[in-house]
Symmetry: C2
Subunit: 332 residues, 2 copies
Amino acid sequence: MKIIVDAMGGDHAPSEVVLGAAKAASELEIDVVLVGNEEKIKSCLGGQASRIEIVNAQEVISNDEPPVAAVRTKKNASIPMGLRLLKEGYGDAMVSAGSTGALMAGGLFTLGRFEGIERPAIATVFPTKKRPALLLDIGANSECKPKNLVQFALMGSIYCKEIMGVEQPRVGLLNIGVEEEKGNSLVKTTYVMLKELKNINFCGNVEPRDFFDGNFDVVVCDGFTGNIFLKTVEGLAAFLLGQLKDEIKSSIKYSLGALLIKPVFNAVKSRLDYSEYGGAMLLGLDGILVKCHGSSDRKAIFNGIKVAKKFVESDILSEIKEAIKETEGQVG
Amino acid sequence: MKIIVDAMGGDHAPSEVVLGAAKAASELEIDVVLVGNEEKIKSCLGGQASRIEIVNAQEVISNDEPPVAAVRTKKNASIPMGLRLLKEGYGDAMVSAGSTGALMAGGLFTLGRFEGIERPAIATVFPTKKRPALLLDIGANSECKPKNLVQFALMGSIYCKEIMGVEQPRVGLLNIGVEEEKGNSLVKTTYVMLKELKNINFCGNVEPRDFFDGNFDVVVCDGFTGNIFLKTVEGLAAFLLGQLKDEIKSSIKYSLGALLIKPVFNAVKSRLDYSEYGGAMLLGLDGILVKCHGSSDRKAIFNGIKVAKKFVESDILSEIKEAIKETEGQVG
């Protein structure tokens, strides 16, 4: 198996990416293709280079660039080059900690959509009181049709089963009430369609305030709503922790107490970072693309490559293809 | 001035409501009409009853009842009776800590919409790093047109100026990106219309993660999105505080630390309660309706009546009427 790795993506690229990829190459019994600035990659690698190949890419796409324009103009950046290698079958999957937008835009442009999928989605995992839950779409599609959400439910459900190891994932629809008749016309129509679907375990509407109870494994929504949810979580978490910090500073007694429970704050904060920058899966593209979080260190890159390997070994794509075909018959 | 108070609404009704209303009657130079179970109200009042009148209502609408059905079938409950008194001009405003849904449904049914307003909205205040910000609509309208959002911006802006005392409130549009071209078709069209409006201080898109920075005073969105935001805030806050509590329990050192900074947690939590159950304004109905939070104690009820008084004394309704008229010319 050969995994293509974008050596230039992420806050700690190329060094941490290269070191994580090198570890994966030596421990996971896979070959790695590092795409990026050859000179820099070589200097990061030092001596160790078994099962590693370098493909030189002159340019880099940053997180600040408008994704569509970036992948069109910077054809020699690591993301578009990696995607072309993937498309040509030079590797089995691609891993990147670079711009999600560029990966999605470039993915659509170079790989195209997976057979039968109308809209690919971005999925990410959030912590809950129980096991983590997968939410999709978190921002690829600002406007969705009910059929898109049904496909998100199918893809998310299969991903959750195969990669997260959940038998019969409980699928929910993000909504403003639990009753079937609640919400806007998109979710109302989607509800009826999901209820009819035989190949997923649909468990009804889930309100954002119950999301964190962990009674759902896969939650679907349109990309506008999902992105609002994601960014509200980010914003409120930062606000709350900031408020706690400010209050603590106001007295010596508080500062002492805070010192004692510092590990508690750090533990909860790291669980949150998980949700804030917890990486994302691009589901529905015709190729396997794993997005590591932007702040990935070598361990996170190693884990991303491990997920990609699991994805390649799994039967996800053919399962999705079959599920989509069955669904066409069910929901038209 | 005469304020109608729903004596039966809220978790601590009737006692806390009655005591808050009695305080308002004696301190704010207003008359109060308490609507609810006469016997219970009298027993709560004890001796003190100056400037207070009781209107007996036999039924109560709870928070769990479907609002529309409840206001139609329970015509003698305190909410519908209070609204009828308001409609008949027996009082200048109504204050309730009861079901928001029943107040909105009953309000539409009994009072109707304010001249020129297509859709009334529910507005609530959230804490930020700076001063509190008003968000609307947080759930009255699951489906909105751009024109509705423009009217929300006008009403919110006038309310923020008159009641919250902010000169030139900075108005924002809740979106998934700050750039004009971001979002779904609703927000894209709304953006263009808000930009053209001369009678508000439109400052662009605001992402939920920046909401809490406090750089906007009034933020508008459709009721589905606003309700998702509200419930994500509620859910995440409960989840985070729960996680902190669980971690703290795991060691004696942590428990000691937590004991020292308990007032910090309480301070931040109470600031949050503010946002979770922080009361709401029903804007756009043809009458003044102040919704206190469900967990209101006598002080919160007193403050709610104070807001209602300020609302009556202000020129909000005629300002809104004028703004709507001007806008018709501008945005068609």
